[in-house]
């Protein structure tokens, strides 16, 4: 077997250095191919260097560890290595706000800071075992996606009252758009596009914040940047590459379904 490789994404330099040192002790064969300080670099470096194991801090500047992992899953496998299994993922966090113990036995592992040598040893043993059985790696991506969905959907601190009307500014006026008329929300740079059958509005409230205030039975998130009205969905089609697109009644545009949310669309 070739030498296993790993990537560390941790924004606090001392902690990144320490993880590397602890890993050198617990798993001498492991080679750290890169140590980065933010989510976006983690995605980029992982796609370029194809490590076997990823250690992601959850809270990082820019993209969080969870978001970075979700994006990686989206882009996997990279064009350069179409058969490469998804790397084993280990989240490192100071505070267990996601109740990560819940998935100790699953595809994604977690470590709490400060790191404990004994706990790290356990993780290393598990990882070494998984890497030795390459057949298992094929299922890895699906299992990882499953867990990421659960984590990304973790409710925020306080439940917020449901949104009934969208206040969109158009020139000097504020248009009150009833939520029942909205077919789709789509993130676009600094704005969110609010699409109704008649017209389009731009608002500045981030999609994430909107999503917390929407009824999940009425609106489905189908992509990191897209939320659509479930009952307005006309059809979901796949292209040759396997990418799924949603067509909405009343809109000409089509919307990409990300792999993370593809499970929503299965024939009965």
């Amino acid at each position: 077997m070739t030498q296993p490789t790993a990537l560390i994404a941790e924004d606090e330099p001392l902690l990144a250095q320490a993880l590397q040192a602890e890993l050198a002790r617990a798993w001498p064969e492991l080679r750290i191919v890169a140590s980065v300080g933010d989510g976006a670099s983690a995605v980029q470096q992982t796609l370029a260097l194809l490590p076997d194991v990823l250690f992601f801090d959850i809270r990082m500047p820019g993209q969080s560890g969870l978001e970075a992992a979700a994006e990686l899953a989206e882009q996997w496998p990279p064009a350069s290595a179409p058969t490469r299994p998804f790397p084993a993922l280990v989240f490192v966090t100071a505070y267990d706000q996601y109740a990560v113990q819940a998935f100790e036995a699953q595809a994604v592992d977690y470590l709490l800071k400060p790191l404990q040598a004994a706990r790290l040893q356990k993780t290393v043993e598990k990882l070494a075992l998984a890497l030795a059985k390459p057949a298992q790696a094929a299922i890895n991506l699906e299992a990882t996606l499953d867990q990421l969905r659960g984590l990304l959907a973790s409710p925020s601190a306080a439940p917020r009252p449901p949104l009934r009307v969208i206040q969109a500014s158009v020139g000097n006026t504020i248009r009150m758009v009833p939520i029942d008329e909205v077919l789709c929300f789509e993130a676009a740079d600094k704005y969110v596009r609010v699409l109704t059958a008649e017209r389009e509005y731009l608002i500045r409230t981030p999609l994430k914040e909107l999503q917390e205030q929407l009824d999940t039975a009425v609106f489905w998130q189908i992509h990191r940047g897209t939320i659509v009205r479930t009952l307005a969905i006309d059809a979901v089609t796949r292209d040759e590459a396997g990418k799924a697109f949603v067509a909405l009644r009343g809109l000409k545009e089509k919307f990409v379904v990300s792999r993370l949310y593809a499970h929503l669309f299965k024939a009965m």
Binding site: E12, L15, A18, R59, P61, A94, Y95, Q97, K113, P114
Partner: protein
């Protein structure tokens, strides 16, 4: 429409009945020559009708929250009308129970006496209920206020001892112990000072500006170890302002906001500046950062940290203190406080 609390009504009814029985017992004690049954029936009947007309009648008027009692003149008219009505109905009912009439000329003295008893007893029990409801209301308000204060204190402590900050700091400390014990010791000292100040903050209401800046330095040093080159800071306190009193850890939440919402989300990090200066008899404090900033037109609620600073300023200085916040997306945020030199 007022919701009627039936348990409450039952409680009032039973208390009124018990009081009526007491009144009849006292009457019997003074006039044992009359059968007890007579005093009891009249007392219970009159008591019942007075209770019914007042306790239900009060829902016909707008009432104050404190006591559930009608406001203004209605509050006086209601018991008078209730007692009159209750006396008439009660006497008529009891008359028909015994099969005689109290309204004939032979019973005039009797009638006058029973009216007097009714007036005194009726007013006392009405007053009793009034006072009791008011006391219960005040008690409830007091408990509510106490609970509110406890919650606020807890929330403050929770934000200051934020688990991410705590465990990440400890994780750094654990690393330093292995590789640089001298720095580890220094970090631990700062952490102890920070924790002590945080936990003590509720005890002392104010301290000199110099102390405030020392505590900010402790906090910023802790963050500097964690964030490495991504964070730089400047503390600028002119020597002649060192002794000016300021509410304990007033600036702490602002510096925390700068780190958490300004620098932490920014890839390349940035700088934090805390400054103090004198301006026309006013103390001007400024906390600014070169972080990600935000769009002031869409910013959601000001957050617990800023709200708490504003509240503390208002409590300590009232109208004489002010707070302004400016932010430019991509360039940073600054908060300016102005407060009088003496509280």
């Amino acid at each position: 429409m007022m919701r009627i609390d039936w348990i409450d009504k039952l409680r009032h009814f039973l208390q009124t009945m018990a009081f009526s029985l007491t009144v009849s017992a006292v009457q019997y004690a003074f006039r044992p020559e009359r059968p007890y049954e007579v005093a009891m029936v009249y007392s219970l009947a009159i008591g019942f009708f007075i209770w019914a007309s007042i306790d239900f009648g009060r829902h016909l008027f707008p009432s104050t929250l404190e006591t559930g009692w009608p406001q203004g003149s209605a509050g006086v008219i209601l018991p008078i009308a209730g007692i009159t009505l209750g006396y008439t109905l009660g006497t008529l009912t009891s008359d028909s129970w015994f099969g005689w009439s109290s309204w004939g000329s032979q019973g005039l003295a009797e009638l006058r006496l029973s009216l007097l008893i009714t007036l005194v007893a009726g007013s006392s029990i009405t007053y009793y209920f009034y006072i009791r409801n008011k006391a219960a209301y005040l008690q409830a308000r007091m408990n509510e206020a106490r609970q509110h204060a406890n919650e606020a204190r807890l929330k403050l402590l929770e934000t200051q001892l934020e688990p991410h900050m705590l465990f990440n700091t400890l994780a750094n400390l654990r690393v330093l112990i292995g590789i640089d014990p001298q720095r580890a010791q220094d970090m631990l000292d700062r952490m102890v000072a920070y924790l002590r100040a945080t936990l003590d903050a509720s005890r002392a209401s104010s301290h000199p500006l110099e102390r405030e800046f020392d505590r900010l330095r402790d906090y910023l040093e802790l963050m500097a170890v964690r964030m490495g080159p991504r964070m730089r800071y400047t503390l600028d306190l002119p020597a002649d302002l060192a002794g000016v009193p300021i509410p304990t850890l007033l600036l702490q939440p602002l510096v925390e906001n700068s780190i958490k919402h300004g620098l932490e989300p920014k890839l390349e990090g940035g700088a934090i500046t805390v400054g103090a200066r004198l301006d026309g008899g006013l103390l001007r404090l400024e906390v600014s950062d070169t972080g990600v900033g935000f769009d002031t037109t869409t910013a959601r609620s000001d957050g617990f940290g800023l709200a708490q600073v504003q509240e503390r300023l208002a409590t300590a200085y009232g109208e004489r203190a002010g707070l302004q916040r400016q932010s430019i997306p991509g360039q940073g945020t600054s908060v300016h406080l102005s407060l009088p030199l003496a509280p």
